[in-house]
Symmetry: C2
Subunit: 457 residues, 2 copies
């Protein structure tokens, strides 16, 4: 611990914003992985000025600063690898304004995503990004990872809704990126560099988001299919009749086994894939789409179209879908999940070959997720967990990542790199692209104090 | 002229790809401004490898290279300021593949945007960005400027549809940016840095674009309003009934005077604003929206809702709208136009104050454009054009830019900075933001050979 740094920090921003006891530190010392983390202090400021002061002192004393929200991240981005201080942004948690004429809202990074959804919905407004963790994760974290979620199929990811930000740089300088209007092309797009940077280029302290009208009607359809090829054909069929659902989620055969007893309806015989198709739009529009979608499903061997048109029925479906990660976790000792993406047409090949990889390495593999985006959560699981299991898991996922890239995909669709995927980045990015990105890091953070050791080796 | 460079270039990529005669040079030596340009050669390669070779030699001999498409840019981005060679990308003009299952197309930068629209429409596919110049401008240029257009109101700008690119760097190195799938969060977003960089960070040689289904039905509504406040209220009313049109264009009172005789319908008395509201969607959906939109228009003092539901009627409207720049040009000697953006709620104040600025500087001011985005094309015009007019225009627009920024807007929504807006960039960007951006330029182009002298001073 750098005692001079801590003393000056306490003096400048106030003692009560700096936590040093092991109990307090433990409250902020985790994320969605089970990797270790060892900060020697937590700083939890209430203003941008305090964040700026922290970074000025961190620069002066060359202390690593690791920004975090609620710690739901799945790649270790919020963990302290080599001491330093964790910067909690949870007290910057206000919705500063909601402006229905300009269709924007200005919020602080610690706002919980689902709470923002609820408040906006009451006003007829919609901020679509909805990562599965959205009842716990916050906007700042969603920006750090460019979080996705089921509704990104129709609406795009977090990036697509972030108009303008206040960003504290490693030096403590405060800049604004982006513009508060829909369009703006003045200078280079450093705004999008900050989004998805996993807290390594700057600390987001204020955000203006873009809103759209909340849909008049939402209806959720469940459809079961014999095979994943049928679902891919169904999606092409929907494009042909010019229908874009809000979500196109799926659960594979292995997942269906776990579903039994957890959902209110029977899984039809000889079906191996469940899809969740949500429609959002005007009342007439949504109603008019159901029949043609049903036809396309049946043409592609779909059976038992179940229509959830009340919020209660819809919630029962989404609760199961959103908790699926936890549901798997409860039934196994070891679970490693990665959020790869492949082109739609290559999904059947990915499912088949990932299952073969699971068999080779003696895992049970659950594939589910955002089929419409090709964004598959691939889960290797085992009933035992030893050092050998972990090592075997790494070997299995090394093959999964090679497969993903061979199919024209990417090794992360929404979770980011953090530390867990860091060893695999060089499989995807060329050395020249990596060199440029590392040089960009040096511009923003020449002392390498902002979330060091993440994304790049 | 650097004769050693030219000789080695001719030898390495072939003489026929290098044009040196004044006649040939003149064919490529213009853009949408009337600024001078003085390249000593044009290079028009047919392959990415040739572009790479050009950049390697340009690096070796420190020769400026200015990439260009069809030269429709409005800020001087394609002009050679200090000799060097202009790189025409017009022979890289192939549509390489259209993939309706993955909803992507791969194209070269010289493809004309409207031609791509037409070919996609035949297949039921849609690439929405449609800058007014889209019958002449090409995808590469659209990417360089992050071009907008009327349909960006609903669908977003060029940036939102570019998934992956092949980019030749100043060094001649070839990298790929982005991913071919909808999601991807591996590393920093250098993809979006290249988009909108005005050809100063890299040369785009291949592009994978994202497609959506072409709408079943398109209907265009014309509505006239007494004042711009009525139109802003109408837009808020549409949001309340949760309607998002595809376009929300406007022409102001001064424009309406020019319209007389050019459109097939009468301009109602006491109206001062024309709006073009286009609806796109399923047949039932579009039809069902017309009546509620009409009601919201009438509630906000709208008169004479004209419905263009055939492609012939629609084309007659859009032809006038898209040619409006030329229509103004024909009637005046001097015209300077800038594409500022202000928040929706500040549009009436902008219109009023920009007219006051026009009066102060003795110009006739035409405001029109993409009202839904707050993206206004502000045109200062005069029946005479002397050095004094030009200088007076600069003073008027300096006030316009200050006004724009005071209203919370940005000085360019879709045309970029190039050279014409370069003196005003420091009004909008902070010195720290500018410093970071200049450092990024140095990483990508350490010798400052790629389109030098643009965007930043």
């Amino acid at each position: 611990m750098n005692v001079d740094f801590i003393a000056e920090l306490q003096q400048q921003i106030g003692e009560k914003f700096v936590y040093l006891t092991p109990e307090k530190i433990d409250q902020y010392n985790f994320d969605g992985t089970d990797r270790p983390s060892n900060p020697y202090a937590i700083v939890e400021p209430e203003t941008t000025a305090q964040v700026s002061t922290l970074m000025k002192l961190a620069s002066k004393y060359k202390v690593p600063v690791i920004p975090r929200g609620t710690g739901t991240g799945l790649t270790g981005g919020a963990l302290a690898l080599n001491g330093g201080v964790v910067l909690s942004l949870l007290k910057l948690n206000k919705i500063l304004s909601i402006d229905p004429v300009n269709m924007i809202a200005t919020v602080q990074p610690g706002v919980i995503t689902q709470e923002l959804h609820k408040i906006l919905e009451e006003k007829g407004l919609y901020y679509p990004p909805d990562p599965s963790s959205y009842d716990a994760s916050c906007i700042g974290g969603n920006i750090a990872e460019d979080a996705g979620g089921p509704h990104c199929y129709k609406y795009g990811t977090t990036r697509d809704y972030i108009l303008e930000m206040e960003v504290v740089l490693a030096s403590g300088e405060i800049i604004r990126t982006g513009v508060k209007t829909r369009k703006g092309v003045v200078g280079y797009d450093i705004h999008d560099l900050i989004i998805g940077c996993e807290g390594t280029l700057g600390i987001v302290t204020e955000i203006t988001i873009r809103l759209i009208p909340y849909p008049q009607k939402i209806t959720t359809l469940l459809a079961f299919f014999p095979g994943i090829e049928d679902v891919v054909n169904m999606m092409a069929g929907l494009s042909k009749i010019r229908v874009v659902p809000a979500t196109m989620e799926f659960l594979d055969a292995e997942c269906l086994k776990l579903l039994k007893g957890r959902i209110q309806f029977t899984i039809p015989q000889d079906t191996n894939v469940l899809t969740i198709i949500e429609l959002e739009g005007d009342n007439e529009h949504v109603d008019a789409q159901i029949e043609p979608i049903g036809e396309v499903c049946f043409e592609n061997n779909g059976v038992d179209l179940f229509i959830a048109d009340t919020s209660q029925k819809r919630n029962s479906i989404w609760t199961v879908r959103r908790q699926f990660r936890e549901i798997i976790k409860e039934t196994v000792k070891y679970k490693r999940a990665e959020d790869i993406v492949v082109p739609i047409s290559r999904i059947p090949e990915f499912i088949q070959k990932s299952n073969a990889i699971a068999e080779k390495y003696n895992f049970v593999n659950y594939n589910y997720g955002h089929l419409g985006d090709g964004n598959i959560h691939c889960n290797m699981t085992s009933l035992e967990k030893t050092a050998e299991t972990l090592e075997r898991g790494t070997r299995a996922f090394t093959e999964i990542f090679h497969l993903t890239l061979a199919l024209g995909g990417t090794i992360s669709g929404e979770h980011g790199i953090g530390i867990t995927k860091l060893p695999f980045v060089s499989l995807e990015l060329s050395s020249e692209s990596t060199r440029l990105q590392k040089e960009i890091k040096k511009i923003f953070d020449p002392l390498n104090i902002l979330n060091p050791g993440k994304i790049f080796e």
